[in-house]
């Protein structure tokens, strides 16, 4: 039986973070109502390999040609809070291209669209919780939050895990980004240890010679094994 301690959510940022202006009108102000975890919360959508098509995990091979930019491998494990792998769970990603431009119609940043790069991928974890994507390193891009605001390079991740309580949407950052200290989205997570869990690490061991740098990003989802009561 998996349990989902509430304390685990202390790693999450607050609903309102003044530095990220759009949170001001999009955050609940009344107290959240505490409820027990019933079957409705302890269950949840379960999606895995059956939802993934061949090639979905390689964002550099979805078009006629190869995208421009620095080819990278992004891989890691999806784990629960006990460090146990979460197998056969869907991982969805989306990102900007190497120039920092999203293919999204709303993105008007005057950087080039890459006709060979959509920037969307999905895969499912294996029995050990491992996943792997091949993509290009996304560029930083400007946004309107404050004067001269730029987002650090990042890849968006979406995961389901084992129940509706483990649902997670997050962003993976790259190590040593000089924009970290100016970014209120990254900065909304104030605990340095929790913050570090959003940053991938350069992985020489899995870097493919003459082909691509590797970055490792392990993701820890909410949930742990029920500990027997002590008497």
């Amino acid at each position: 039986m998996t349990v989902y301690p509430k304390e685990s959510l202390e790693a999450f940022p607050p609903y309102v973070f003044e530095g990220y202006r759009s949170t001001v009108k999009r955050s609940p102000r009344k107290p959240l109502v505490v409820i027990p975890h019933t079957l409705s919360e302890l269950t949840g959508p379960v999606y895995g390999h059956e939802t993934v098509h061949a090639g979905d995990e390689d964002l550099t091979k979805q078009h006629a040609g190869e995208p421009l930019g620095e080819r990278i491998v992004v891989h890691g494990r999806v784990l629960d809070e006990d460090g146990r792998p979460v197998p056969d769970t869907l991982v969805e990603i989306w990102q900007a291209n190497a120039a920092g431009r999203y293919i999204h119609v709303v993105d008007q940043h005057p950087a080039p669209i890459d006709p060979n790069f959509t920037g969307a991928g999905r895969t499912a974890t294996d029995a050990e919780g491992r996943y792997k994507f091949v993509t290009v390193k996304p560029g930083a891009y400007p946004w309107g939050n404050h004067g001269n605001a730029w987002r650090p390079a990042h890849i968006h991740f979406s995961l389901f895990g084992t129940s509706f309580l483990s649902r997670l949407v997050t962003q993976m950052y790259f190590p040593g980004d000089p924009l970290f200290e100016f970014d209120p989205i990254y900065g909304s997570v104030t605990d340095p240890k929790a913050r570090a869990r959003m940053v991938s690490s350069f992985d020489l061991e899995n870097t493919v010679p003459n082909w691509a740098l590797a970055y490792r990003f392990d993701i820890v989802l909410r949930g742990r094994n029920q500990t027997p009561m002590e008497h």
Binding site: P28, L39, T43, Y102, I103, S158, Q171, M198
Partner: protein
Amino acid sequence: MAGITPSQTVGPYFHYGLMPHDYDFSEVFSNNLVTPDASGERIRIEGRVIDGDGQGINDSLVEIWQADSAGRYAHSADRRALPNASFKGFGRCDTDKNGAYSFETIKPGAVPGPNGGAQAPHIGMIVFSRGMLRHVYTRIYFSDEAKNEADPILALVPAERRTTLIAKRGDRNGQAVYTFDVRLQGDGETVFFDI
């Protein structure tokens, strides 16, 4: 303890990754949960996601999770689940320029509650959006359910706020349409749960 990976906003550009209907990427989720083998009353749920200024939010992502018409969840933690049923009970919808979303589904049955009791039929809902660093969780209940009165979760909600959780039943061309707006903030702010 290692600690979990923090949440970050879904941002404004999630569509081509999570709801790529207008993009060159295959789509695996939709707002239609109905499968050929799903028994029960077909219903539509629609509403808007609204910010603290009363404006519809055009870049929200809404997800729902529900039981089948017999109140069973398609999940291993529900021992009554039907392993071969194609009804999964999960739907995903992006809001349009007015902040509107909709789902085509079937009305769920009553599901087991705490301490051996029952819960009134309901659907779990998660809302993500640009400007939200973490998602919110709420529940959709149905206005035509007498069981709401005895629901153990609704009982935990201050009486004057319960109406924010109850979708109003209407009729459109003979189909049941429930309206459920999500107000993130301000007058009539939807009840969100701390889970």
